[in-house]
Symmetry: C2
Subunit: 397 residues, 2 copies
């Protein structure tokens, strides 16, 4: 374990040279290695280091938010990302990058390089995303979700795991504030929107007490439900694709919560892409269907094949399990609808917005796309209790 210092390209290469296993993966001598910064997320520094034999992706926390150095942020976030990879590795296999090294002193993760891949949001904006990626994301959520559920493991294991991620306070604080509070607060300085086009829509969102009651229910659901280990930030910028290969990255927001949070967030990002780009909506609807069926199939398969060491469901007979599964999927869908609504609103008028909107063909289109996102978001939150299957969800978009 080393003492923390932010590593630039030179310092990072020198550090890797001290680690035999990683040096061997790069091959050749350190002088032949190149380090290229690829950070495009909000929070951390990411370098790709390449050598004659291979390459590595190195991610390090900074003591502040990368895009806003005035916003101090504890370094520990990469540790939670590493714990997330370690916890899910066996259940999700190659759907996340392999973790090759963790330095808890430097708050440095070294992982499999996915430079052949492209960030999904970029691919969607540039128009070269391979159709069908969402099925893989659905499977990922299904496998990760079941493996960390009360049905799969004794509660003692899960309490211990929940404890680990319950220390992920600063990023959970971001979720609670940015996703489920700030956008609804008049005068909150972190909000911004296309003005004056959306002024009246935003004013409605901020004064609608029925909507606020729906948001309150989702706040409670997010904090008060420990259904599974969530990714916690599963938008299209947390996925990298290369043909059929779909990987989920950036699990630093991992926390136990309701599965509909991950699914709903991903769906909202597909919806925004569908609104922002011409002739895109029906494809995105197909992706949403694939996400949901991929999730249901994977989760149901794990459930059916469960060897039964969990405490929940130990009494269930096969016939009742089928009912129980149907009830479970209806519940996840209700959550999913509500959390999708939160994500639509916060990515349209909150602190961290979806880049997809800026790719609209013109400002009028962009304004309309954003307006639709706000209204669909509201509808999903207010009506979530009635949205219990994929047809009802698609109807509400």
């Amino acid at each position: 374990m080393s003492t923390y210092r932010p590593l630039d390209a030179t310092a990072l290469t020198a550090h890797l040279a001290t680690l035999p296993a990683l040096s061997a993966r790069l091959g050749g001598s350190p002088e032949s290695w190149t380090a290229r910064e690829v950070s495009d997320g909000n929070l951390n520094t990411v370098f790709i280091v390449s050598g004659p034999a291979g390459s590595l992706c190195c991610k390090q926390s900074l003591p502040y938010v990368r895009v806003d150095p005035g916003w101090a942020m504890p370094l520990e976030r990469t540790l939670f990302e590493a714990r997330w990879m370690q916890t899910l590795g066996a259940a999700v296999g190659h759907q996340i990058p392999a973790l090759l090294h963790l330095d808890e002193g430097l708050f440095l993760i070294v992982m499999e390089d996915l430079s052949t891949h492209k960030v999904l949001r970029t691919a969607l904006i540039e128009g070269d995303a391979p159709a069908g990626f969402s099925a893989r994301i659905g499977e990922f959520v299904g496998h990760a979700g079941f493996a960390t559920s009360w049905r799969a493991r004794p509660f003692e294991d899960l309490f211990a795991l929940r404890e680990v991620f319950a220390r992920n306070l600063s990023l959970t604080r971001i979720t609670v504030d940015l996703v489920m509070t700030d956008p609804y607060r008049q005068g909150c300085a972190r909000n911004r929107w296309l003005s004056p086009a959306l002024d009246s829509d935003v004013a409605e969102i901020q004064s609608d007490s029925v909507l606020h009651a729906g948001v309150t229910r989702l706040q409670e659901r997010f904090l008060g439900t420990t259904q599974a280990l969530l990714h916690g930030d599963l938008h299209t910028g947390s996925v990298m694709v290369h043909n059929e290969d779909v990987r989920v990255i950036d699990g630093e927001f991992a926390i136990f919560g309701p599965l509909g949070f991950d699914l709903g967030m991903f769906i909202a990002n597909l919806v925004m892409n569908g609104y922002a780009l011409p002739d895109r909506e029906s494809w995105m609807q197909d992706e949403i269907s694939l996400l949901w069926s991929g999730f249901c199939n994977a989760y149901r398969q794990s459930w059916d094949g469960n060897t039964g060491c969990g405490d929940v469901g130990s009494l269930a007979t096969p016939e009742e399990t089928t009912h129980d599964q149907d009830r479970f999927f209806r519940e996840v869908m209700r959550d999913c609808a509500g959390f999708a609504g939160l994500e639509l609103i916060r990515r349209t008028m909150g602190f961290a917005q979806a880049a997809d909107f800026a790719a609209a063909p013109d400002t009028a289109w962009e304004a309309e796309a954003r307006r639709r996102a706000l209204h669909t978001g509201r509808r999903l939150i207010v009506k979530s209790a009635l949205i219990e299957d994929i047809e009802a969800l698609l109807d509400a978009l």
Copy 2:
């Protein structure tokens, strides 16, 4: 902190003599003190030590279950009881005994002596319980429940508190096994029942897949919901009464979970008393109503007076808060009904049974009381989704 050894009356008195604050409360010299064992619970040793100036109640863990020395059990349970008292003291005031001393090495709690009080279950069986005690228990659950809810405190505080009690593994294991699993398992050696009178009722309970699906939902609700800090074992043996003064003791099962668990467990114990003793049912129904209104009033009052530092509800307007409260109480009642059902069944045919049954006037009455407890238990579990207010609950008893 001292090294652990089980203290008998002599060793306990000698130990107290080394502690000036406690010695002062007892007054006089140690030779004038008397120690009287009053253990009547299942798990721990309890002594009342009296001196010329006052008395103390001393509770110590044993490395096994007191009533079953072959059943090893970690000592730490008194630590959780102490944490529970420390956590709730400010919110519930005199409704729990004052914690005077904790020795984490001896696993010894010294608390306010309630020898003027009587254990509620005993008072109910002996017929000298003061009517109306349940209102106080309802208030206790309401105050404790709100003070440890997402509405009352920032999630960072509650995650930390939840972590503390999530280590309460051995007692939570008892709850999961004895309350929500074993009774439904054919051939489980911990079950016993009035045989042959109840053989066919028990066989039904153990082969009813609709019931087992209901139990499964409650397992999930108990483990997957962190609504508030529960007492975790709130039966009539965990309450001591003296006229108007009603105290809740024995919080060693404390864990975060759904509030309906505490309320439902208490209700079930009132129901069993009502079934077991002649001319008792309508009084017990009144107590159940008082419990519920006491709970609702206390919880609503705390909610209305909330200064708003919690993360849930930060956006709510007063008009929506009223709706939100109604929804909340309906949800708690559904849980309450289901958990009351679990408690009725496990106290009638599981490991730890309600002593009230043995106080029935004759065996035929006892058998009928037990049969009713099993059938009401089943009905409450299977129908809990439809039981949303106190009238519906009373109708189902």
